[in-house]
Amino acid sequence: MADMPMQQPPGRIVLPPHRVRASRPFSVRAREWVRRNLFPSRNGTILTVIAVGFLGALLAGVIWFVFIDANWRVITENRWLLFAGGYPREEAWRLWMGMGFTFMLIGLTYGTWSSFGRRDHIFVGLISAFVVFLMAHGGASIWSSLWFLLAVGVMYLSYAVTVRMPRELGPIRTLQQRVVGGLLILALPIALMILLSGDASARQLDGFVLNLVLAPVGIVGGLAMAIPLAIGRASRMKTISWTCTAYIEIVRGAPLLGWLFVALFILDDVIGGSLIVRAMVVMAVFTGAYMAESIRGALQALPRGQYEAAHAVGLSRLQALRLIILPQALRISIPPIVGQAIAIWKDTTLVTVILPLRELKGNADSAIAQFEFTPDRIEAYVFVAVVFWAVAFMMSRISQRVERTLGVGER
C-alpha cells in the first residue's frame, strides 16, 4: 500500500541485532540444542552414538594416514612437476602474475557485488597455509611462498579498495561495476596472454596449470556457444532450430572421451594447431551442448507474458531477448550451469587418458613412475583428489553466493 513505511533498498537486508533474541544464558541454550539435535529420543540417541563412533573412527584413520603413515615426499619433491611440469622455468613469473591477476579479480568482484564473510577468510587462510606448508616443506625456494602470499595480498587489497566504495546507485557505482564487469569479461583472454606470451607457448602448459587453463576455457567458451544455441533451438525458423538441435543432440550423444579422440585424430586435419588448443575446442564444444539445454529449459520456463510485455512496450525481438529474456533465463540456469562447470573441471583429467597431455593427474602418474616414489601412489592420488575437491567446492560456494546476490528464485 502507498502508506507502507519506507523500506530498505533491495540488496541489503538488515536483521535485528542477534543478541536481542539471545536472552537465555548460553549454557542453557547449548544444553537444549544438544538434547534436541543429538539425543531427541532413545532411537535417536542410538543413531547418534553409532554415527559419532563411525565418524570418530574415520577421523582417526584420516589423521593417522595424513600425519603418521603417509610419506608426502612424493608431493613435496615433485611439486613443480605437479604444478607446472614442462612450463619453462625462466617464464615462471608469468604463472605468479597470472595468479595475482586472478586473485585481484576475485577481490574486485567480491568487493563490488558481495563481501567476504568469516567462512571466506577461513577458507583463504586454510588454502594459504596449505600452499605455504607445501612449498616450505623440503626447503623449496622461499620465493614461491612469497609470490603466493603476494597474490593473496593483492586480492585483499583490491577487495579493501572496492568494498569501501559507495554501494548506492550513482555514477561512481555504475563506473565501478562497468570497470570490474569489463575486466571479468576480458579476464580469460588477459590471463591467457599473460601465460602464453614471450617464450611460453600453449604446448608448454602443463600440470595443474593446464587444468586451470582448460576448465575456464571450456566453461567460458561453452557458455558463449550455449546462449546462441539455446536461442537457436527455440527459434521459429526451422532451419536454425534443426541445426542447433542436431548440434546439441550429436554432441551429447557421445562421451567426452570420444570427442577427445576426435580432437586427437580428426581435428588435426581440420583445424590443426597444438593438441592443447584442440582439447580446448573440444571442451568448449562439449560443455556448450549441455549448457545450451540448461538455458533452453530456463527460456521455456519464462512466462509468455514477459515476451508479450516486452513487445507491448515496443522493444524489438532482439532487444526483448537481450534486456528481458536472457537476463532472467541466465539467472534461472545458474545452478545447472555451475553443475556443468564442475563436471568439466573434473573432466579436464580426461585429456591425459586420450591425449598425450600432462595435467595434474597425468603428472601424478609420472611422479609415481619414478622408482623411488612407486610405493607412494596412494599419497599422490589422495593429494590430487583433495586439490580437485577444493576447487570444485570453491566453485559451488561461489555459485551459491552469486545466486544469493542475484536473488535467484525470488520473483
Binding site: M1, A2, M6, Q7, P9, P10, L169, P303, G305, Q306, E308, A309, A310, H311, A312, V313, G314, L315, S316, Q319, L323, I324, P327, Q328, R331, E410, R411
Partner: protein
C-alpha cells in the same frame, strides 16, 4: 458509421466525442487458432478519447480482439487501422503502432529483474532513445500519477498486486501512447486492491485517453464507459451506451450474460 443503433446514441451522449476522428477502425476481422475460430467478422470503430468497455463470457474472444490491436496476435482476415496506419506485415507500421498503443495485462507482466523505475524507463530509453535522466524524470511523473512515487527503487516482487498493476499502467503511459488497452486489469487482484487500480483508470479516462477495457467491473463500466460492447463466441453481439445495456438490452445472449453477472 457503425451498423448498430446503440452506437450513434453513445456518440451523441458525449459532446467531447462529437468532433473527433476514428482512431481505431476494425473491419470484418477474423482470427483462427488452427481450425477454431476465435474472432468471427468483428467490426468496430472507436473515436479518439472514447472509453469502450468490452464484456463477454470467458473464451468469447475479448482478449484475442484487443491483442490484435497491438499485434500480439495476427488477424487472419479483415482490416485493422490504428490512427491511420494499416496493420500489416510491414515492420515499420508495426513499430509505429506499438508505440501508439499501450497495454496493461491481467497478470501485470512487470519485468521482475528490473526495479520499478527501470521497468518504466526501459521503453522510453530503448525505443524512444530518450536520455536516461529525462526518462527517469518522466518515469517519476508517471509514478506520481499512479500514486506510488515512493516505490521507485523497489523490485516488483516487493510490491502488492495493486501496486504492481499501477506500475504496469505507469510503464505503458511512459511511452506516451494515444490508446490504452486493458485486458482484465483487476481480475488477478484481491478485492481490497481493485479500487486503487480502477481509480487510476478513472483518472486516465477523465484526462482524455482513448481506452479499451476488458473487465467484469460493472460499476466501472456503468460510470466511466462511453460505450459497452458485448462479445460472444468470437462475434460482436451488441453494443450501446451503459444506459442502453443496463436498462434494455436487446439480444437474448446479452440479457442472459448480464443476468448472470449482475
Amino acid at each position: 458509421m457503425t451498423t448498430h443503433d446503440g452506437v450513434s446514441d453513445a456518440s451523441a451522449d458525449s459532446d467531447r466525442l462529437t468532433d473527433s476522428q476514428d482512431i481505431i477502425v476494425a473491419e470484418n476481422v477474423d482470427k483462427w487458432f488452427g481450425d477454431f475460430q476465435a474472432l468471427d467478422n468483428v467490426s468496430m470503430n472507436i473515436k479518439e478519447h472514447e472509453i469502450v468497455v468490452i464484456l463477454g463470457p470467458s473464451g468469447s474472444g475479448k482478449s484475442t480482439f484487443i491483442r490484435c490491436l497491438n499485434r500480439l496476435e495476427e488477424h487472419d482476415a479483415g482490416r485493422i487501422v490504428i490512427d491511420g496506419i494499416e496493420m500489416n506485415d510491414d515492420v515499420r507500421n508495426l513499430n509505429a503502432i506499438r508505440s501508439e498503443v499501450g497495454m496493461v495485462f491481467q497478470q501485470f507482466n512487470l519485468f521482475p529483474h528490473l526495479s520499478v523505475i527501470s521497468n518504466i524507463t526501459l521503453g522510453p530509453q530503448k525505443v524512444r532513445h530518450m536520455p536516461k535522466a529525462e526518462a527517469q524524470q518522466l518515469a517519476m511523473q508517471h509514478l506520481e500519477r499512479v500514486g506510488i512515487p515512493e516505490q521507485a527503487d523497489k523490485y516488483p516482487a516487493q510490491l502488492s498486486g495493486g501496486q504492481q498493476q499501477r506500475v504496469a499502467i505507469a510503464r505503458a503511459l511512459a511511452m506516451q501512447p494515444k490508446i490504452m488497452l486493458f485486458d482484465e486489469p483487476t481480475s488477478a487482484l484481491d478485492p481490497e486492491m481493485i479500487k486503487e487500480v480502477l481509480d487510476v483508470m478513472r483518472e486516465l479516462a477523465e484526462s482524455g485517453m482513448t481506452m479499451i477495457v476488458v473487465t467484469h467491473e460493472m460499476g466501472f463500466a456503468r460510470e466511466v464507459a462511453d460505450r459497452l460492447i458485448f462479445f460472444d463466441e468470437g462475434a460482436l453481439v451488441e453494443q450501446g451506451t451503459p444506459q442502453h445495456f443496463f436498462e434494455n438490452p436487446e439480444e437474448e445472449r446479452t440479457k442472459l450474460f448480464l443476468s448472470q453477472i449482475l
